[in-house]
Point group: C2
Chain length 240, copies 2
């Protein structure tokens, strides 16, 4: 009986460790979401203090990446996880890389909003508000899909990323027109373009996270394939 209890204890502790890693990823995700929301608000409101706090807090995102990575290596070495547990750890290692890069892009957005506030030109950001809202939503949905291990929600994120890319393209076309109309605006419009690009990249990273969720749950690697093939991987019998 004691051996059994010991076995259960070990296994329970292992479960706790995996649960702890998952929770830490969600905490990191929450911080990254807040960084993005603050960056967007600083841009919309021209709030330089808020923008500065985003820049100042990026190191916290980086620190979380490093410490979760360490924890993953420790679990791999000590617990030698297999199957789904192993996929969880591998998916976490990849997810936190994308979260860290989302944090970097949020910091970029904050830096641009600082520069644009300097020139009291945050009016330009009107074009970006809708894109920013969509990007904030896709990150929220990606983290939700991760928290609930929900492959349908993950698929939905991949679909949303396509419309974010289209929105980005249309904003870029519009900004190019602005530039041609008034070359004195080149520098400012460029800053808006870089901000749009940073937002678009966040969409890509959110999509990456959802690909890891599908890998984790279904054991299938769905990177680099079309949305149709992704749907097939998630619902193999839906088409028959």
């Amino acid at each position: 009986m004691e051996t059994g209890e010991f076995g259960q204890h070990i296994s329970q502790q292992f479960n706790d460790e995996l649960e702890d890693i998952r929770n830490r990823v969600l905490t990191m995700g929450g911080l990254v979401e807040k960084q993005l929301a603050d960056a967007i608000n600083s841009m919309v409101e021209g709030d330089t203090e808020l923008a500065e706090s985003v820049v100042a807090n990026d190191h916290r995102v980086n620190g979380m990446e490093v410490s979760i990575d360490e924890e993953c290596s420790r679990v791999l070495a000590r617990r030698q996880p297999a199957a789904g547990d192993l996929r969880l750890v591998v998916a976490v290692i990849k997810t936190i890389t994308d979260l860290e890069r989302i944090g970097d892009q949020a910091e970029r957005v904050a830096r641009f909003s600082l520069r644009l506030a300097e020139n009291s030109h945050h009016g330009y950001f009107k074009e970006l508000e809708h894109l920013a809202e969509d990007v904030r939503q896709i990150l929220n949905d990606a983290l939700d899909a991760f928290a609930r291990m929900d492959t349908e929600a993950a698929l939905e994120v991949a679909r949303s990323d396509i419309s974010i890319d289209q929105e980005y393209d249309s904003i870029m076309r519009q900004l190019i027109t602005f530039m041609m109309e008034d070359p004195r605006n080149v520098t400012r419009v460029l800053d808006v373009m870089w901000t749009a690009r940073a937002l678009e990249r966040i969409g890509d990273h959110a999509k990456n996270i959802c690909e890891y969720v599908i890998y984790l749950v279904k054991g299938k690697d769905v990177r680099h394939i079309s949305i149709d093939k992704m749907e097939e991987a998630v619902n193999p019998d839906a088409g028959s």
Copy 2:
């Protein structure tokens, strides 16, 4: 004796597997280097066929990422590596993500050179040739540092990335001037800017790979720290 031989056999096979993973990363690195060299040449020469071949071959880079990832998961599950072996596998998982993104950026460069060749305007690329050469070199050096597990070479790559960033900033300033001088060039100059940005990003990814080399050899995570701190991590006694 038989057990001993079996043990050795297992261990030898394990070594072969790790060596195989390392070799596959280097093969993937070689392909990515070729993609970048072809993309740069297509841009400098205005060679659309070469640019098209880069776009067509990107899927091979993606395929390598997926298959090396699978092999890493298999080794983690079967061999339960510890210490340096585990760090190798984790470093490989991260390295191939960066290699795949370098491949994406090379594809971007090729796509822009297609667009610029259409407008017979590859003359604009003069500004980029030097940056492109430096980026090609830093990727080569990063892969070399990985192949030889050379932390000094890895540090050198991190230093080079700083000068690539400075070069990029100066090119951007120059391109902004071009744009303001002649707003009819906005679209073309923007393409050159995006190309410069893609090249600069490749430098960042090369630096990431070198950080994994230092992690692998020294067991120290040197991401998100200054170059001075990186030097301390690699040569802890140098300052004393």
